[in-house]
């Protein structure tokens, strides 16, 4: 990996595109969807605070998927993201992860980031096994998700290929998501959707305790590879 990318600071001139792929399948209905919604709101607020309300540090895309994937927000300046009306409700069907990953690649390709930009980060969370378009959780669907993830991770963007961070809970398949993530360490298993509420803003925001001005790509990469420090 190029060291200069890791040292790149997230600034107005070097913004970062963050894509969130949110599972809205039926298994998320109820409390998991509420918790995930809360987590997304909190995360967006964290990212917004990092900009001090003034700086275009982050572009934010939000993709929701069930049987099919859709774009809820695409490459918006984080300061323009209005989350109040957004809520997951677990009514989107099954878990077509492959389609969601393909859509993420399309969104990033459309973004037109230049070499000045920081490489994008794609975060995804899911509680289910990947399904195909027919809603079946088959091995083919799992393999398709891994293949689409590979395509996404190898995207030849001017700003550098994206990093993929996967978060699983419930019936999510660890073996699949470890391969979907850029590295196995960038996959995180949570006990429940409720854990997302603190985990997502913490892991997804390039802040470092004790060194709050250290907002480099490398720091974020380090963070998503180790997870937040837990209190004993």
């Amino acid at each position: 990996m190029r060291q200069d990318i890791l040292k790149k600071n997230i600034t107005g001139r070097n913004p970062m595109h963050i894509v969130l792929i949110a599972d809205d399948s039926v298994s998320m209905a109820g409390e998991p969807a509420k918790a995930a919604t809360k987590a997304i709101h909190a995360w967006v607020n964290e990212l917004y605070v990092r900009t001090r309300g003034k700086k275009p540090y982050f572009r934010f895309s939000l993709l929701c998927f069930g049987t099919h994937a859709g774009v809820a927000a695409e490459a918006l300046d984080i300061r323009d993201v209005e989350m109040k009306s957004f809520a997951l409700d677990g009514t989107s069907g099954t878990t077509n992860l492959a389609e969601a990953l393909s859509l993420a690649a399309e969104v990033l390709e459309r973004d037109g980031a230049t070499a000045d930009h920081c490489p994008p980060f794609v975060f995804l969370f899911t509680d289910g096994r990947p399904t195909n378009a027919a809603g079946k959780a088959t091995e083919e669907a799992a393999r398709a998700a891994i293949e689409r993830a590979e395509t996404l991770k190898l995207l030849d963007l001017a700003c550098g290929s994206p990093f993929v961070v996967a978060i699983g809970f419930g019936k999510a398949r660890d073996d699949i998501l470890q391969q979907v993530a850029s590295t196995p360490r960038m996959y995180h298993r949570l006990p429940s959707a409720q854990a997302l509420v603190s985990f997502l803003p913490e892991i997804g925001t390039p802040t470092v305790e004790g060194d709050p001005d250290e907002t480099t790509v490398g720091r974020l990469l380090e963070k998503v590879s180790t997870g937040p420090i837990r209190e004993a």
């Binding site: 600071n9 605070v49 309300g53 060194d211 709050p212």
Partner: protein, 605 residues
């Protein structure tokens, strides 16, 4: 004069009873029935009290623990009211002996400055009914027309459609809900659903709440007051500076790959005795022509004896991206002060305001000023303090830590109150984000620690030794040059906590470092902010002119190879560094300060 709109609240007279705290402009009272009577001292948390006391006018809400309704409110204007519902309650504080006695004890003003009301939060659906006696057509208060500024405030409030409006600039969104929700919560929390009209609610364990006007101006406040550099010696267009300007300073920048020998540092033109000191002169007001002013302040004094003391500093916004993002939140200083025996000491330092905090550029200045104040006090407190011998004891670091801690806390608390009172918004934040993070939002209380956050790497150096205070990150190295021209250089910075509102005296103590000569003839220190030290090795070396660059030796950090001889050197170096592109260079503000003191060949040991 304020105008009160009672359109949506039920107002009843209520007598003030007990003053719980005071400030020059505001007094906060709680009723006698409140359980706060049993408390020792102010019931509000300190952070909350700072906010309340800083408001030119504020509303204090009180709800007794065993009395859920109504919420009582006291609206406290800055100036005495011209008129008011004085007929509804006695205007003589002496009718309330408890209050009067208490207020005397606390040294607060009389009730002439207080307008108490009992406020019953009401249902919004009925508040504006045409026949409602509380409608705008039935004003309960003085009919005084508001002035233009109040009209603007009232117009703003009308736009935000609060549940209730109390006086100029005070809007209450949901007292009842807030009271119910916050009843047993300690701390500062935002009233739910009050985004359109943010209201600060402070609750203590006796459920006292305070609401303040949250209209925040975006006026940039003046820079915080800085230390007055004490009179030292007469500052004239001194030879040492002039000769640098005339190009004779080349002698100070020999084209040698090693540190210049003492003989090269001593051109004859400046080896003559220096002018006699004049205690009346102030270094602050006189700048030698060749001195490079810090972009953040004229806080430098010229080098008067470059042979024995060489020092300088410069602060740069850094690469363009950093400048565009946050301007310059660093600060650098260099100056001379005399110790108790009149011996000159050099104080230099750099401070790096933390971008994600607020008012960090002011924090950097406060940290620097506090160091100068504390170091000056320490050095001038004893004639012996200027000697290295005096620095070998254990007592002075404790004293210095206490002195610095007091100074920096006093400065930041006062400045915070000043900024809150003036409704200033940190220009590096949008007003909305600033308000949410630091004034009214749910994290405002914990974010008190983020006010004025800054690193500080500062050094006080005498002729035979000195000390430093290193709080936070960056780079620091110590140079020792021996009689035989042998030179030792070592990086010395250990991780420590930066300056913040939560910095403790013990943490300050941990950051103190003593510099002993250890037999060296000359002793020097270079400090930089992390914007410099985190740049790549290639960039740090490339930015140095050949005259500044020393041989590699066993340097652990590229900055160990670079010698700065003047503020101009620092400036030129940082300018070259800032012109390089990221990620070769760190996208951050950059500051350097250095000092080199010791004996020249001609000087007496």
């Amino acid at each position: 004069m304020m105008r009160r709109d009672a359109s949506r609240i039920d107002v009843q007279p209520c007598a003030p009873t007990v003053a719980i705290a005071s400030s020059p402009n505001v007094q906060v009272f709680l009723p006698a029935s409140s359980e706060v009577m049993g408390e020792a001292g102010p019931a509000l948390p300190p952070a909350a009290w700072q906010l309340v006391s800083a408001a030119p006018e504020c509303l204090v809400l009180v709800r007794d623990s065993d009395d859920a309704d109504p919420v009582r409110a006291y609206l406290i204007p800055q100036a005495p009211p011209e008129a008011g519902p004085s007929e509804s309650f006695p205007d003589d504080a002496r009718n309330y002996p408890d209050y009067f006695a208490e207020s005397e004890a606390l040294g607060v003003a009389t009730t002439a400055e207080i307008e108490p009301y009992a406020v019953r939060a009401t249902d919004t659906s009925t508040a504006s009914a045409p026949d409602d006696p509380r409608s705008p057509e039935a004003p309960f208060d003085e009919p005084t027309a508001p002035d233009d500024s109040e009209n603007q405030l009232l117009a703003r409030q009308a736009q935000s459609a609060p549940l209730a409006t109390l006086g100029a600039g005070i809007a209450v969104s949901s007292i009842t809900d807030a009271g119910a929700v916050q009843a047993d919560v300690a701390g500062i929390t935002e009233v739910p659903d009050s985004a359109a009209s943010p209201v600060l609610l402070v609750t203590s364990k006796v459920t006292a709440g305070a609401v303040r006007d949250t209209a925040v101006s975006i006026v940039v406040p003046p820079a915080p007051p800085m230390s007055t550099i004490l009179p030292t010696v007469e500052i004239q267009p001194s030879d040492d500076v002039v000769y640098v300007m005339r190009g004779q300073g080349d002698a100070l920048r020999p084209e040698l790959p090693v540190f210049p020998s003492p003989s090269l540092e001593a051109p004859q033109t400046v080896s003559e005795p220096h002018p006699v000191s004049s205690p009346e002169a102030s270094a602050r007001t006189s700048m030698a022509p060749s001195e490079v002013a810090s972009p953040l302040g004229q806080w430098t004094t010229p080098v008067r004896v470059p042979l024995e003391r060489r020092f300088g500093s410069f602060s740069s916004a850094g690469p363009k991206a950093a400048e565009e993002d946050k301007g310059n939140q660093d600060f650098a200083f260099h100056l001379e002060v005399p110790d108790g025996a009149g011996r000159p000491w050099v104080l230099v330092g750099v401070a790096d305001g933390v971008s994600q905090s607020t008012w960090s550029a002011r924090g950097a200045r406060h940290a620097s000023a506090a160091f100068i104040e504390a170091a000056t006090e320490l050095l001038q407190s004893s004639a012996a303090s200027g000697t290295e011998c005096a620095l070998q004891g254990d007592a002075w670091p404790v004293r210095f830590a206490a002195c610095f801690h007091d100074a920096v806390m006093k400065r930041t608390i006062e400045d915070r109150e000043y900024l809150l009172a003036g409704r200033y918004t940190d220009p590096t934040w949008t007003p909305e984000a600033f308000e949410s993070e630091f004034i009214t939002g749910p994290r405002a209380k914990e974010n008190v620690s983020k006010w004025f956050q800054s690193t500080l790497l500062a050094v006080a150096m005498g002729r035979t030794g000195g000390f430093g205070l290193f709080l936070g990150d960056g780079f620091a190295r110590v140079d020792r040059i021996y009689q035989d021209h042998r030179r030792e250089t070592a990086s010395v910075l250990q991780p420590t906590r930066p300056v913040s509102a939560w910095l403790t005296q013990q943490e300050v103590h941990v950051g103190i470092v003593r510099f002993a000569p250890k037999g060296a003839r000359r002793l020097g220190v270079v400090v930089t902010t992390d914007g410099v030290s985190k740049s790549s090795t290639e960039a740090l070396i490339k930015a140095a002119s050949p005259a500044l660059l020393q041989a590699p030796r066993n340097a652990q950090h590229p900055l160990e190879r670079i010698d700065f001889r003047s503020s101009q050197d620092c400036q030129a170096y940082l300018q070259r560094l800032a012109m390089m592109s990221a990620p070769e260079v760190e996208v951050d503000n950059m500051s350097i300060a250095f000092v080199l003191c010791g004996q020249t060949p001609d000087s007496q040991p």
